[in-house]
Subunit: 153 residues, 2 copies
DNA sequence: TCAATAATGCAACAATGTTGCATTTGTTTT
DNA sequence: AAAACAAATGCAACATTGTTGCATTATTGA
């Protein structure tokens, strides 16, 4: 039996392994020092970072106002996303890919080391919500102990 | 076959239908004007409210500093809980019951009227998280169109 | 009713986020 | 490669959100 279905070729761009300059170019954004440094930082660490953590890594290059504008630009361009833990701590993380809609994946918050990991491959289940409600997007934050802290204990 | 299992009698207190004064008494908290008014307001509206909404309802009785302290007291006593939408808007809602651990239920955010409803009866599913991670708590925010807005369209 | 204790509200501060505008930088065109 | 253009930066100044010390006021239990 021969399938007559044509495959649809979808171009996926994965940010984790891409050069910061190329990401910006791809989005038609100017290659500025702060943008490149922020993307590099999020790639290097692999987890979500707070403004404070980003600030201390960036050193002299950090400027509070430019930081907020850089973040806004990268959020708008769908390159990074933002997570809030306990209604207080705001963290920033690199999106998985071009096609990953900001909030459609699960975040894991470690109560011990306070790291936030994006669980890209964990499936978002279908929720049994009451009649009349129409679900479109979903944010999930699981709290517990991460793999690294688990190993140490 | 006769079961020899004894039932365990658990006293559940449901905040939605309880008098504000009784809730405070039950928790050993003083019955102050602001606390009573805030609880009454959350009971009356049934949905989550922002500080601004609470302020305009409270009128003269509202004081910003006392509000933050009142909120903290009621959070600590497990009477209310806090929800953040889009990392910006903070909302407050009455807990379902004494035994409802703050974040262990699903919130529904309506993109049209911006209301947040607590879906008390919607079950939280078991997530398939990577090996090594240990899940303890879970926060879920579903975004879409609520039942009221759905009816109107 | 009075004393003990906790809550309130003012001032003052701290942290977080935003806007206007002159200057600088990145990009495009010649 | 240099000029011209547009967009990003960083300063000042402001707006919003949340916190703390302390004197005053309200609640509660005796």
């Amino acid at each position: 039996m021969v399938s007559d279905t044509f495959g649809i070729f979808v171009k996926f761009i994965f940010y984790r392994k891409m050069n910061a300059v190329d990401i910006l170019k791809e989005k038609g954004l100017k290659k500025t020092a702060q943008r490149i440094m922020l993307i590099n930082l999020l790639q290097k660490t692999g987890i979500s970072l707070t403004e404070g953590e980003i600030k201390s890594e960036m050193g002299d290059l950090y400027d509070r106002i430019t930081f907020y504008r850089t973040v806004q630009t990268l959020l708008d361009a769908n390159i990074i996303h933002r997570i809030t833990v306990d209604n207080i701590t705001v963290k920033y993380a690199l999106n998985h890919s071009d096609h990953n809609h900001s909030e459609n994946h699960i975040h894991f918050f470690c109560k011990q080391c306070h790291s936030v990991t994006c669980l890209e491959n964990a499936a978002i289940p279908v929720y049994d919500i009451p009649k009349g409600f129409k679900s479109e997007e979903c944010e999930v934050l699981i709290k517990g102990i991460c793999d690294k802290c688990h190993k140490l204990s």
